[in-house]
Amino acid sequence: MKSSQARKLKEWVIEKSILLSGIFSVVFVLLIFLFLLREGLSLFRGVSIGDFIFGKSWYPISQPPRFGILPLILGSLLVTLGAAAISVPIGIAAALFIAEIAPQRLKEILKAGIELLAAIPSVVIGFIGMITLGPWIKNFFNIPTGLTALTGSVTLAFMAMPTIVSIAEDAITAVPRQYREAAIAMGATKWQTTWRIVARAARPGMVAAVMLGIGRVIGETMAVMMVTGNAAIIPRSILQPVRTLTATIAAEMGESVQGGPHYAALFAIGIVLFIITFLINGVADLYLHRSRK
């Protein structure tokens, strides 16, 4: 009798800790936001939110300092749009090929290759981009430096592709067989079926894939810091050095004084990034659920 009570107590403890562990993920999200606010909000005692978001100059160590992140937002936007323009068509096309056309053995190899690409650390991709792509772009366009927004876009495109390909491929594979059989039975070719039926049915999943890929690009830090040249000015062309939100935090945190306005400004950039990625992932998740139904 006693041992049965001991067992019940043990199970009670285990089940409560399981429940607690589940809740911990929620706690962590809240804690991340809370600590960003805790360290970042003090900036807005001296700077208005409008001046922070739309201010055209980022001179954090001049006297007086200027904390306008518009150049950084535009830098992130330019690099991200460039990366999306490259990775979305290529990624979706590759997903269609892998899901619908490649024979089983080739499919396994290609999927492993894409997993490998996803696994390469961003600092290694940044290193390769800096040392091979940078000089190439410099010579090709005959410009003073190869570390530009375009270099960042190409580099980041490769980091977005694994996400886009694997999620889009899942969505395409999840399209019911009957759709394909019906189309083929009507006399459509394999390609007509793939493009007009399967790709269309998988569209919500593809939207989610694109959004998650873009989320990955906006949040990417090391590679983008190594290849974009890091000039915090409002970009006029894709062949200029730019600086992104993420790279600014990574590059300047070491020089900032803890508790000072510069330190707070970097955490405030963190708040902006957190909100942007929160929205993107939330919407992508809605689309993923829709595609599963």
């Binding site: 067992r7 199970e11 089940e15 399981i18 429940l19 562990s21 589940g22 809740i23 993920s25 929620v26 999200v29 804690l31 991340i32 600590f35 960003l36 805790r38 360290e39 290529i90 096309a93 590759a94 090929f97 892998i98 056309i101 490649a102 492993a112 290759g113 894409i114 997993e115 490998l116 696994a119 390469i120 650390p121 961003s122 600092v123 290694v124 991709i125 290193f127 390769i128 040392i131 070719t189 394999k190 390609w191 007509q192 493009w195 906006i218 949040g219 990417e220 830090t221 090391m222 190594m226 990574a250 945190m253 070491g254 963190g270 990034l273 957190f274 990625t277 992932n281 939330g282 998740d285």
Partner: protein, 281 residues
């Protein structure tokens, strides 16, 4: 246009796109292997850096990364597996489980540099752990939590429902059922997630920038409250911050990091495919 003809063109375009994704992987790997191999030696792997990193080895960076990854796993695996058990075995489809799932999606999407800020704010400053292996491991641990939860969830969900029904009908309690009839079958999948988490933690730089990584520290850490060098940050430092490092040393460092991460991923792929082949249901 003739549909047969347009199909041929379309398939060729898709094939080309696929090659554009996969070939660069091969090229990157080849470049790093060819140019980095000459740097690899016993001395490079197992000795301290000397002359401000210009010569000597990268032992403290390799060991530092191993410590950090180990710390992250010790923290994240129990928490992640239990969270997955909660989602699959205990929660019904109520607001709490939906909230937990939403939180996991968002944890997975938080940029790595924001994890760095969080680690700096909470572990380094608030809990006063300082820039230390402890702070870095905890930060990395929270970052890989979604990877571990997601793969553990998939592993648990793949165990057929009748395993549970049979166990319950024999009078086993809910926890006994999970412990003896579900977890053993989900173990390979959980292991896969753990290895993938290891690989992810080993390669990340931004979360450790402000929480642990030392620029140049040619000795080994003595406790979990010490700073340490780490491989990915070391590669960043010698390729952008310190001029005059020999090219093959840079490539060699990249090769060591890449080998570590890819071996972990390869291990995960092998465990998973073995598991799939041996599955009897």
């Amino acid at each position: 246009m003739n549909p047969r003809y347009s199909q041929k063109i379309a398939f060729a375009v898709l094939l080309l796109a696929t090659l554009l994704v996969v070939l660069p992987v091969v090229i990157i790997l080849l470049i790093i292997m060819v140019k980095g191999a000459s740097a690899i030696s016993w001395d490079f792997l197992f000795s301290m850096p000397r002359d401000g990193m210009a010569s000597g080895g990268i032992l403290p960076a390799i060991l530092g990364t191993l410590y950090l990854v180990l710390g992250a796993i010790i923290f994240a695996v129990p928490l992640g597996v239990m969270a997955a058990i909660y989602l699959v075995e205990y929660s019904s489809d109520n607001w709490l489980s939906r909230l937990v799932k939403l939180a996991i999606v968002n944890l997975a999407g938080v940029p790595s540099v924001v994890y760095g800020l969080f680690g700096l704010g909470i572990f380094v400053t608030f809990f006063r752990f300082g820039a230390s292996i402890l702070s870095g491991s905890l930060t990395l641990g929270i970052m890989i939590l979604p990877v571990i939860i997601t793969s553990s969830r998939e592993a648990l969900e793949s165990v057929p429902q009748h395993f549970r029904t049979v166990s319950l009908s024999l009078g086993a309690s809910h926890w006994q059922t999970i412990r003896h009839s579900v977890l053993p079958h989900a173990l390979p999948g959980i292991l896969t997630g753990m290895i993938l988490g290891l690989g992810r933690a080993a390669g990340e730089t931004a979360p450790i920038l402000f929480t642990v990584a030392a620029f140049y520290l040619p000795r080994l850490p003595q406790s979990i409250f010490d700073q340490t060098m780490a491989l990915p940050y070391h590669l960043y430092v010698i390729s952008t911050q310190v001029p005059g490092i020999a090219e093959n040393v840079r490539y060699g460092t990249a090769l060591v990091l890449l080998t570590l991460v890819l071996l972990l991923n390869l291990a995960a792929i092998l465990v998973r495919s073995r598991f799939r082949r041996n599955k009897k249901w």
